[in-house]
Symmetry: C2
């Protein structure tokens, strides 16, 4: 019997390799988010990385694979962002406004919107990535918010209704302003007061529709 060799050997070499892999992903991410899939070149990444093309292919078997890895990673980071939206402490209206503002800010950030566009652009070619993105970003946010709204309904602050539907309504209202414009490419960055305006608009309509 040979000693256990294949199992967890987080040796030093392994760590180094992971570092390199991470560096590749980081550089690739900025490229993909900035220039899209077609506009990104492997040679460009290698050059910016300061490394060799061989290394690239030793980590990822193809441009597609690299792209997939980048998107998954970015989507996870995005999710982490979006999960920090609800901090329950104030009156319902204020809490919701704060949450919406926070959401819009994150969703209209350069990386956020670039990721969104990337997914839309490549949705046909990489359906699995769409799935991952959807579960991690909109779906996750919706469920978090739904949970909170459910609580508010139980406390009688909102009329009883399907919380997931309610979340969907509030979210879509929130993203109907700046975010739409960004996605389409009409504006590059929203003005801060635009964000606040979108949030109050959304919450206002939402509260009217879901008043107890």
């Amino acid at each position: 019997m040979t000693a256990p060799d294949t199992p967890p050997i987080p040796s030093r070499r392994e760590a180094r390799r992971q570092d390199r892999r991470d560096a590749i992903l980081t550089v690739a991410q900025t490229y993909f988010l900035e220039h899209g899939f077609a506009g990104t070149t492997m040679s460009g990444i290698a050059a910016e990385l300061g490394g060799s093309k061989g290394t690239l292919w030793s980590h990822f078997p193809s441009k597609e694979a690299l792209f997939a890895a980048v998107v998954e990673r970015a989507a996870k980071a995005y999710q982490a962002q979006l999960s920090q939206i609800l901090n329950v402490d104030e009156a319902l209206e204020l809490t919701l406004q704060r949450a919406c503002r926070s959401l819009i800010e994150k969703v209209t950030s350069p990386d956020g919107s670039a990721l969104h566009r990337l997914i839309v652009a490549q949705g046909r070619r990489f359906p699995e990535l769409s799935q991952i993105f959807f579960d991690l970003a909109p779906q996750n946010t919706r469920l978090l918010l739904a949970d909170f709204l459910h609580g508010a309904m139980m406390r009688g602050q909102l009329r009883p209704a399907d919380p997931v539907d309610a979340a969907r309504a509030l979210l879509s209202l929130s993203l109907s302003g700046c975010h739409q414009q960004m996605l389409i490419g009409r504006i590059d960055r929203p003005a801060p007061n635009e964000i606040a305006a979108d949030a109050t608009f959304a919450v206002d309509i939402f509260l009217r529709a879901y008043a107890p």
Copy 2:
């Protein structure tokens, strides 16, 4: 003095040339909508067209120019579609539901969603096209709807409010279901009952928020 030659001479030759140009645009449109900008090849278009590459370049100086022409044309056709949404004849709720259903149908049609994706994907590279699309599609629809809602407000069927905002709310609620999923690429075609459900959902919330 030579005779007036440059002015309007819609001669036979001219007409023929227009026909050819139209044929090119038609073929190119199916390609671009189906495969995106990068995925479309000029050679492919020429082949499908049955014509020669030279002809392509004699009508459009570059792939970009052809793309722009295609998008403008498709956006206009799209607008024509979207303008036929409101037929005022029934009770407010039914009218709105019908309008929303009609809108969702058109927006989630293969060509509609493909165009939308194309705009999102190429928004950075062709800002002018984004502008055109925006004016022709979302903006136009919003204004049409706003006009109708304004009437309803005057008649006391809705509470007084900014009609454009109201239209924006109703539209964003309508597109929060199937349309989102299509854009992201999670589904290919929505089920008809999904469309109806989205419409009733949107109108329900809208009417609660804008009740007199």
